[in-house]
């Protein structure tokens, strides 16, 4: 039985509902090179429904000093700080390569101010290879911008509105779980013109070195991801699905077809593999195939049948 896997994520047509979480996959080039060298690899980069790039800012960002990651129980904390070469560098390097990969490209957009987000999008509007934008208003690892926009409904709406004015392409807005009521932020960005919502970004956390009696990360705070946050992400998707009418991209601890199906049942239209790319570099690429097999074995003909299809009891 062939299973229909295609989905429409706020205007972005994906041949299967699998992408990657921004920042866990670079621009895909390192993974593609590894895959092409692996005899057991199921296919090239276009086995994904879309690729989501690392965050791109207008100017180059150096990222954070000091230790940048640490493992936690079934998770990890990161404090990378959105290191990237800036939008010009991205266009002339990553995007040139991505354009030849035959996979829709979602560019994750970062900024310290509404104006910076807009300037990144304006520059990317000149590039045919860009299929959609994911606006990051939820990173806990930058001092200004990032999460500060995503924790306030009015600020989230303002950034979304500015980005909306800059493009007609599908516009995803990525939200943080570090808020009292994520549905309030979700409704605000929907009203401001977002086509879809990505959730969740990392959960704010910290690590302490008991021996040295110091903070592990220079900034204190870092972002928790991996299987440890899956229940948090699932609940966020479940709640937001009931609060808005636009589609959701589920992110948080997804490794298996079963994990992905749980997110579809909670209301996600598509899912992103994040931290699992680090433990298994072939994980994202294999997920679509595994989803197809899961659906076939459960008698599901179209993946969309699962969306929000939680049963009572």
């Amino acid at each position: 039985m062939s299973v229909e896997l295609s989905v429409n994520l706020g205007g972005l047509v994906m041949k299967n509902p699998v992408t990657v979480a921004s920042g866990t996959f670079g621009s895909g080039r390192e993974y593609a090179e590894l895959w092409s060298a692996s005899p057991s690899c199921p296919g090239p980069l276009n086995a994904l429904g879309a690729i989501t790039t690392k965050g791109v800012s207008f100017e180059p960002w150096a990222g954070n000093p000091g230790i940048r990651i640490t493992e936690t129980a079934s998770g990890m904390l990161n404090s990378i700080g959105l290191q990237n070469g800036g939008v010009e560098y991205f266009c002339s390097n990553d995007l040139v390569w991505l354009a030849s990969q035959n996979v829709p490209v979602i560019v994750n957009v970062s900024g310290h101010s509404g104006e910076e987000y807009t300037k990144v999008i304006q520059r990317l509007e000149r590039e045919e290879a860009v299929a959609a934008y994911e606006v990051n208003i939820s990173c806990p690892n930058v001092a200004s911008g990032g999460m500060s926009f995503g924790t306030d409904a009015a600020a989230a709406a303002e950034v979304t509105k500015l980005c909306r004015q800059a493009t007609k392409r599908p516009l995803l807005v990525k939200l943080t779980p570090n808020v009292t009521d994520i549905t309030e932020i979700a409704r605000a960005v929907e009203a401001a013109g977002a086509d879809a919502i990505s959730l969740i970004n990392t959960v704010a956390g910290m690590a302490i070195d008991a021996q040295k009696r110091t903070k592990v990360f220079d900034r204190g705070v870092a972002g928790l991801s991996g299987p440890a946050v899956k229940p948090v992400a699932l609940y966020a998707v479940y709640r937001v699905y009931q609060a808005v009418d636009i589609p959701l991209l589920g992110i948080g601890g997804i490794r298996s077809a079963c994990d992905a199906v749980e997110f579809f049942l909670a209301g996600a239209t598509a899912v992103a593999v994040g931290t699992a790319n680090f433990s298994d570099p072939l994980r994202a690429l294999r997920l679509a195939e595994e989803l197809s097999a899961w659906c076939a074995s459960e008698g599901i003909q179209d993946i969309k049948e699962l969306r929000g299809a939680l049963k009572d009891g």
């Binding site: 670079g26 940048r68 493992e71």
Partner: protein
Amino acid sequence: MHECTATVVSSEARCSGLLYELVLSAPPLAAQVKPGQFVHLALLQAEHILRRPLSVYQANKDAGTLTLLFQVMGEGTRHLTELTSAQQLQVLGPIGQGWNPPETAKRALLIGGGVGAAPLYLLAGELNDRGVLTEVILGAATADLLACEASFVTLLTAGQVHITTDDGSRGYKGFTTEVAAQLLAENRYDYVATCGPEPMQRIVAAMTAESGALCEVSLERRMACGIGACLSCVVDTVNGKKRACVDGPVFDAREVCW
């Protein structure tokens, strides 16, 4: 670089259990590994979601095996010590830019601190095979932590192995850098390579810069992906931030902002 399934051949405690020697059967990796490269091991316990990068100590192309020497640093490496023969694990490798001694090198000095001796072993073998007069300084806190001394002594056909211990229980009492200073003053080296604690590498780099020899260092960073995508393992260099995994782990010492 390959992702492959490796089989544990043996896993043995060394140095009173502070270091472990893990032998893996991984023929494609053993065939390809170059001195100074590392492998990225997936642990068997589900709670460890990140791999562990371990440098390659020895490689046997004929037997298809890699020998890894590692220090127990935390829960992950402690779990690695529990591996038993015939167990299988996923290994990514060989990864990174290894040592790059000049073709014209005539005399080399290799300085390994603690478990940092391991990634110098294949380099010493290559230099030795090329007829480069190779001297090695191995240092450790105490005599029973000198895990690699015997194998280096057996390997080198010409050069000498100098030993230092912090407590004087074997060899020179003091640090590797003190013996290195003496050797650099007495002899003319055209290549210096060092691996071990970063302060030691920094001092070696500074001393070597004065002598004019090329100095390469091997830097250790926490790592997530191991393939250059996540930017966890960055090193500050005069050419901006570089990734220890794929741009390193070996760097020209002049490039590193210490």
